[in-house]
């Protein structure tokens, strides 16, 4: 491993060690740039390949071959000379100053590592911050025993844990089926899957089916769904959901109430796993000031990027699901494209070399994205689960209901930022991750305008919480920083 110029100065920082970040860091460093890969987790892999080097789940067929592909990205990273700082939380990326006295345009990254905060200086940053689960607000979703399917999958990958007792999965989307399949492989009990995919989505998605028929995911996806359907009770056309606790208004989860064909049914449950797809984790890009746009097909905000992943902010690129959901294989290729463009911008490779190297990568990216439109359309969550009824909590941190958001709209709050100031929703520790998309949709529906017009939260650093002590001790000099990083 070649050492960086100093302990806190690199050509390129890559944030996130999922498929996009791993591929970007390995490629950029292999061409001679000094690269630091910053990642919160102890082990590389991101969410999709989480714990791929050390999962206790050794039976390869439990997590499936797609998961184990992640391990193949680690060798190139090791050989590239990129520095990998695991256990590092990035809480701020500041765009280059327009008024720096010496004309240089460095980017300052605020991070926490080993319990100490520090600022890192780089000339280019590739954000590979991935996806997060789309909020799935239903009455009772804050009860103990109700969690995101993604969180449950993390427990499976990192600790080999599966829920005990009666388990119900509810929602829509490929990941729900994948997790169900993984649980089956692991021998876990699943009592039922409540499929909330709206019937009419099939009609809308049908014209896109030819594209999907060429998708590499088709065969795998069909096999997986058939497998799950053969072994489990799958209840389709679910139009309403409610989690109920043992006590009036609380306690831990006791049952799941669902509506099908206008009739209410009740299932006993100790665990309810909710999932309705993933959306870009754009908090860091948003707080950095990257422009974003509403994606009607994926029904989410995504940062605006060019074909190389470059954002509206100089020196800041995006790769992978953080720029729009495309899946792990697409993320990997997008990471390579962003790396090539960064190398070009830094003067390491010429335009021609960039374009030449990019051609096969772009072809692979296109292949990986084949059929995406079909999946996006088919699995668009039902309006009832994106725009919940008045008594459903939307902001869990501040316990703000959809009704309170609607009331704020009636008092003149026209967008999420006004609602934030007015209600404090989105101002808790999660910084709007769990309510942002819902608040946008609720306000848009209430005002009868598009989410694009309503806008999204302006997010602020620190994007991840840090302690006052860390901030107070932020090193001021190079020597201070070295002292922090050598211990």
């Amino acid at each position: 491993m070649s050492p960086p110029k100093s302990n806190f100065d690199f050509d390129i920082a890559v944030v996130g060690a999922g498929p996009a970040g791993l591929a970007a860091a390995a490629l950029a460093a292999s061409k001679g740039a000094s690269v630091v890969l910053l990642d919160e987790q102890v082990e590389p892999g991101g969410q999709i390949y989480r714990a791929v080097t050390e999962t206790p789940v050794r039976d390869r067929k439990v997590l499936g071959p797609d998961y184990w592909h992640g391990a193949e990205l680690l060798g190139p990273l090791r050989d590239s000379g990129a520095v990998h700082w695991s256990g590092t939380t990035v809480w701020s990326v500041a765009r280059p100053r327009e008024d720096a006295p010496d004309g240089s345009r460095p980017i300052q990254i605020g991070l926490s590592r080993n319990g100490a905060a520090s600022m890192l200086t780089v000339r280019h940053v590739i954000l590979a911050t991935g996806a997060l689960e789309r909020p799935f607000p239903i009455p009772g979703w804050t009860l103990p025993g109700v969690l995101g399917a993604g969180a449950a999958q993390v427990l499976l990958k990192t600790s080999g844990l599966v829920p005990s007792g009666a388990t119900v999965m509810a929602g829509s989307g490929p990941l729900l089926w994948l997790l169900a399949w993984q649980y089956l492989q692991a021998g876990a009990r699943i009592d039922a899957i409540l499929d909330t995919t709206p019937k009419q989505n099939w009609r809308a998605a049908l014209p896109m089916l030819p594209g999907f028929l060429r998708s590499p995911y088709l065969g795998k996806g069909m096999k997986l769904m058939l497998d799950v359907r053969r072994k489990l009770t799958v209840i389709g056309n679910v139009t309403a959901l409610r989690a109920e606790g043992g006590l009036a208004g609380g306690g831990t989860l006791k049952s799941v109430v669902y509506t099908r064909n206008g009739t209410e049914h009740r299932l006993p449950a100790d665990t309810l796993l909710l999932h309705q797809g993933v959306i870009p984790n754009l908090n860091l890009a948003n707080a950095t000031g990257c422009a974003q746009r509403w994606d009607e097909q994926q029904r989410c905000w995504r940062p605006t990027t060019d074909e190389w992943g470059a954002t509206s902010v100089e020196g800041v690129s995006l790769a992978g699901d953080g720029a729009g959901i495309g899946g792990a294989r697409a993320a990997e290729e997008a990471g390579r494209l962003a790396a090539l463009d960064a190398l070009h911008r830094l003067g390491r490779i010429g335009r021609e070399q960039r374009d030449q190297s990019a051609a096969p990568v772009r072809a692979a990216l296109d292949r990986a994205l084949t059929g995406r439109a079909f999946l996006d359309t088919l699995y668009t969550p039902a309006e009832a689960f994106r725009v919940p009824a008045d008594d459903t909590i939307v902001c869990r941190c501040e316990e703000i209901t959809a009704g309170a958001v609607r009331e704020a709209v009636r008092l003149g709050c026209s967008g999420p930022n006004q609602a934030k100031s007015f209600l404090r929703c989105g101002m808790g520790p999660c910084q709007g991750r769990l309510c942002g998309p819902t608040v946008t949709e609720v306000i848009a529906a209430e005002r009868n305008v598009s989410p694009a017009e309503v806008g999204y939260y302006r997010l602020r650093p620190p994007v991840k919480p840090i302690t006052l002590a860390e901030l107070a001790a932020l090193p001021k000099t190079d020597a201070d920083i070295d002292a922090v990083f050598k211990h």
């Binding site: 100053r97 605020g110 003149g412 006004q418 100031s421 650093p461 919480p465 302690t467 006052l468 107070a472």
Partner: protein, 375 residues
């Protein structure tokens, strides 16, 4: 394009911050037809994102008569705007960390006493501890103003807007004023979205953009655009009621009823005025964090969940511009509050309404005249 809304207003207020909304409210209360023009949306900048301190404590002597009069309005804020604005009055305290600092605050109280003001008093270490049990051991005393407190800025500004609208004021949001001209006793105000408005009187309450309005009438002012930074913690158990500042360093520290703690004090980030954007300077945020580390040991493990900065105007002498234009009749200024205008909002709106409807006000505003910057 000409705005079709009628009738024509008597007064156009430029700027939908607290001062613009307050002027609109007080004018509307007197039956004056008001139109407020706001380039973004009401309370988008300083008025929506400031620390919310409702503070008479430690103000510039020129502001003391205004701050005292405003405090009376704050204590009846529900009667004024039909909303309590989240106002709570648990006092404001400026901590002295050394005997020398304590001497300074004693001199301050003597100076105010000579002017007839008694709202500030010096307290010793024992009373400081009883008011703020969490304060660090080394603090020797403090300056306190018991009637002070804090409110919720965005909610406050919105309440002023709502009440003004209820009394007949109109608000036009989303168009920047691009041109201001007066002819034949009538002002014409044009906005970037293609609208054109007329009124006999204009109020310039455009905050960090007010110098551009003043320059339109040949009245340039040395306004500096600043971005004071704030940060907030995750919830901690309730431990403090008053708002705490420091004598020897910059700090504004208070806990909300929901347990979160707001830390500010005017350390500056960078404002990019033309893009409505601010950037934080974490080396300065760190200075702020260090102050809290020193003064409130119990906060050292607290988690910072968010920091931000608003865009504000600062005048070279740290006090605002309030009063009639020096170059044009029927134009009134209310801007440049230099990072401490929130508490003055209720009274300065009344003063502006006094000037417009009666031609004078009973409060001493001579120190705030715009002409003080003329060469």
């Amino acid at each position: 394009m000409t705005a079709t809304a009628s009738p024509k207003p008597d007064v156009i207020v430029i700027g939908g911050g607290l001062h613009g909304c307050s002027a609109a409210l007080h004018l509307s209360m007197r039956g004056v037809r008001v139109l407020v023009l706001e380039k973004d949306h009401v309370a988008r900048h300083a008025s929506g994102v400031n620390a919310g301190g409702v503070r008479q404590l430690g103000r510039h002597v020129a502001e003391v008569p205004l701050t005292v009069a405003s405090m009376a309005l704050w204590h009846g804020i529900r009667d004024l705007v039909d909303d309590d604005c989240g106002f709570e009055s648990h006092g404001q305290i400026k901590v002295a960390e050394t005997e020398a600092e304590l001497e300074t605050v004693r001199a301050r109280v003597a100076e105010l006493g000579a002017l007839g003001f008694t709202h500030e008093e010096v307290i010793g270490q024992d009373e400081l501890r009883s008011l703020v049990p969490a304060i660090a051991d080394h603090c020797v005393g403090a300056l306190v103003s018991r009637g002070d407190g804090a409110a919720i800025p965005f909610r406050t500004t919105f309440a002023f807007r709502r009440k003004a609208i209820a009394l007949g004021a109109r608000f036009q949001e989303g168009g920047t004023v691009t041109r201001l001209a007066r002819q034949g006793g009538m002002w014409t105000v044009e906005t970037a979205d293609g609208n054109r408005f007329e009124a006999p009187v204009v109020v310039n309450a455009a905050g960090a953009w007010a110098d551009r309005i003043a320059a339109q009438v040949g009245e340039p002012v040395p306004l500096e655009v600043i971005a004071p930074m704030l940060m907030i913690t995750a919830r901690v158990a309730p431990f403090i009621k008053p708002v705490v500042g420091a004598t020897g360093r910059t700090l504004s520290f208070k806990q909300f009823p929901n347990g979160t703690v707001l830390i500010g004090g005017g350390l500056l980030g960078r404002a990019v005025r033309d893009e409505n954007r601010t950037e934080l300077d974490f080396s300065q945020v760190s200075v702020n964090a260090r102050t809290v580390w020193d003064l409130f040991p119990c906060m050292r493990g607290a988690t910072i969940v968010r920091s931000w900065a608003g865009i504000e105007a600062r005048m070279p002498d740290q006090i605002p511009v309030i009063g009639p234009s020096g170059t044009e009749p029927d134009l009134y200024h209310s801007f440049g509050f230099s990072a401490h205008g929130f508490q003055l909002g209720p009274i300065v709106g009344r003063i502006t309404a006094d000037l417009i409807t009666a031609g004078s006000t009973d409060l001493p505003i001579a120190p705030f005249r715009i002409g003080r910057f003329a060469a």
